[in-house]
C-alpha cells in the first residue's frame, strides 16, 4: 500500500533515478532514445528545408 502511494508521488521516477543511479549510470542513453534523437534531428532538417523553400 505504501509503495503504491509513493509511485503516485509527483516526481517519483526522477527521484528514484537520482537515488538509485550514479552520474555515470545516468549518462548512459538507451538505444530507443538514440533513435528518437535521430528522428528529432531528421524532423529539424526537413523543417529547415521547408523554411529554405518557402521563406
Amino acid at each position: 500500500m505504501e509503495s503504491e502511494t509513493s509511485i503516485d508521488e509527483v516526481g517519483y521516477v526522477a527521484r528514484l533515478i537520482d537515488t538509485e543511479m550514479t552520474i555515470l549510470e545516468r549518462m548512459k542513453i538507451k538505444k530507443s532514445t538514440m533513435y528518437r534523437i535521430i528522428g528529432a534531428l531528421s524532423i529539424y532538417s526537413i523543417t529547415m528545408i521547408i523554411f529554405a523553400i518557402t521563406l
Partner: protein, 265 residues
C-alpha cells in the same frame, strides 16, 4: 527571405538551454536582446512564441524520454500530467488576454507593474535559496494553484515573469526540481503555441490581419531546437542538488535583470 544569423542562433541556444533546464528566461532574456540588435517587435514576439512552442514540446518529449517526468496521456492521467494541464490552461487564458490587450492597445503595463514582478521573482528566488536546507517538502496542490493563477495574472497584464513564478511556485509546492522543469517546459510549449495562434487569428477575426516577418525563425528555431534536445539530458545527468541552487540563483538574476531594464538601461 531565408537567412541564418549566427549571433541569434547562439543567443537562442543559450537562453533555451537555461529555459529547458531551469524553466525560465527564454522570453524575458531573449526579447530585449533581439530588440537591442535592431529587430522590430513584430519580427521578434511571434517568432519567439512559435519557436518556444515547438521547443517546449520537443523538450517536454525528451524530459519524458530521459525520465525527468512521467506524463501519461492515457486515462487515468497521473498527478504530473494534471499539474502540467492546470498550469497550461491558466497560461493559455492569460496569454490570450495579453494578446487581446496588446491588440486593442490597452497599455496597463507600467514600470510599477514590472517592478512588482521583478520584486516577486527576486523574493521567490531568495526564499527558495533559504529553503535549500529543508528536506521535507510535501506536495501542496492549493499553493500550486495559487502560484499558477498568479503567474497567469502577471502574463495576462503583460508584465512577464511567467516562467520564474510557475517554476518556483512548483518548487514551493513540493514538486521535485527536475520534474518541475519538465512540467514547465511542456506547459510553456502549449501556452506559446496558443499565444502564437491568438497573435495570428485575433487580428484576422477583427479583419485587420498582421503581417509577420519570419526572418528570425530559422536562426531562433535552430538554436532553440538543439538546446531542447540537450537540456533534458543535462537535467537527468546532473544531480538535483545542483538544480536546487541553479534555479533560484537564475531566478534572482532574472529579477535583477528586469529591475535593471526599468531603472538603469
Amino acid at each position: 527571405m531565408f537567412e541564418i544569423i549566427p549571433i541569434v542562433i547562439i543567443l537562442a541556444f543559450l537562453f533555451e538551454t537555461m529555459d529547458s533546464c531551469a524553466g525560465m528566461g527564454f522570453g524575458t532574456g531573449l526579447t530585449p536582446l533581439l530588440l537591442i540588435l535592431g529587430y522590430e517587435p513584430l519580427q521578434v514576439v511571434p517568432i519567439l512564441l512559435i519557436s518556444e512552442g515547438i521547443t517546449g514540446f520537443t523538450s517536454g518529449f525528451f524530459h519524458q524520454e530521459f525520465e525527468n517526468v512521467n506524463f501519461k496521456i492515457k486515462k487515468p492521467i497521473n498527478k504530473e500530467t494534471k499539474i502540467m494541464l492546470n498550469i497550461a490552461i491558466l497560461g493559455c487564458i492569460a496569454i490570450m488576454m495579453s494578446v487581446f490587450l496588446t491588440y486593442f492597445a490597452i497599455k496597463i503595463e507600467t514600470d510599477l507593474i514590472k517592478t512588482y514582478v521583478a520584486i516577486l521573482v527576486l523574493a521567490m528566488g531568495v526564499i527558495a535559496l533559504f529553503k535549500l536546507k529543508s528536506k521535507t517538502n510535501s506536495y501542496k496542490p492549493k499553493l500550486l494553484t495559487f502560484f499558477s493563477a498568479l503567474a497567469g495574472f502577471n502574463k495576462g497584464i503583460g508584465a512577464g515573469g511567467y516562467g520564474p513564478v510557475v517554476m518556483l511556485g512548483q518548487i514551493f509546492s513540493g514538486i521535485y526540481e527536475k520534474t518541475a522543469t519538465a512540467i514547465t517546459s511542456l506547459s510553456e510549449g502549449i501556452v506559446s503555441l496558443v499565444g502564437f495562434a491568438s497573435f495570428i487569428f485575433l487580428p484576422v477575426i477583427m479583419s485587420q490581419p498582421v503581417e509577420i516577418d519570419f526572418v528570425l525563425l530559422p536562426s531562433v528555431f535552430t538554436g532553440g531546437f538543439i538546446a531542447a534536445l540537450i537540456s533534458p539530458y543535462m537535467v537527468r545527468v546532473l544531480p538535483n542538488k545542483m538544480w536546487r541552487i541553479v534555479i533560484p540563483v537564475y531566478a534572482i538574476s532574472i529579477g535583477v535583470y528586469i529591475m535593471a531594464k526599468i531603472y538603469v538601461l
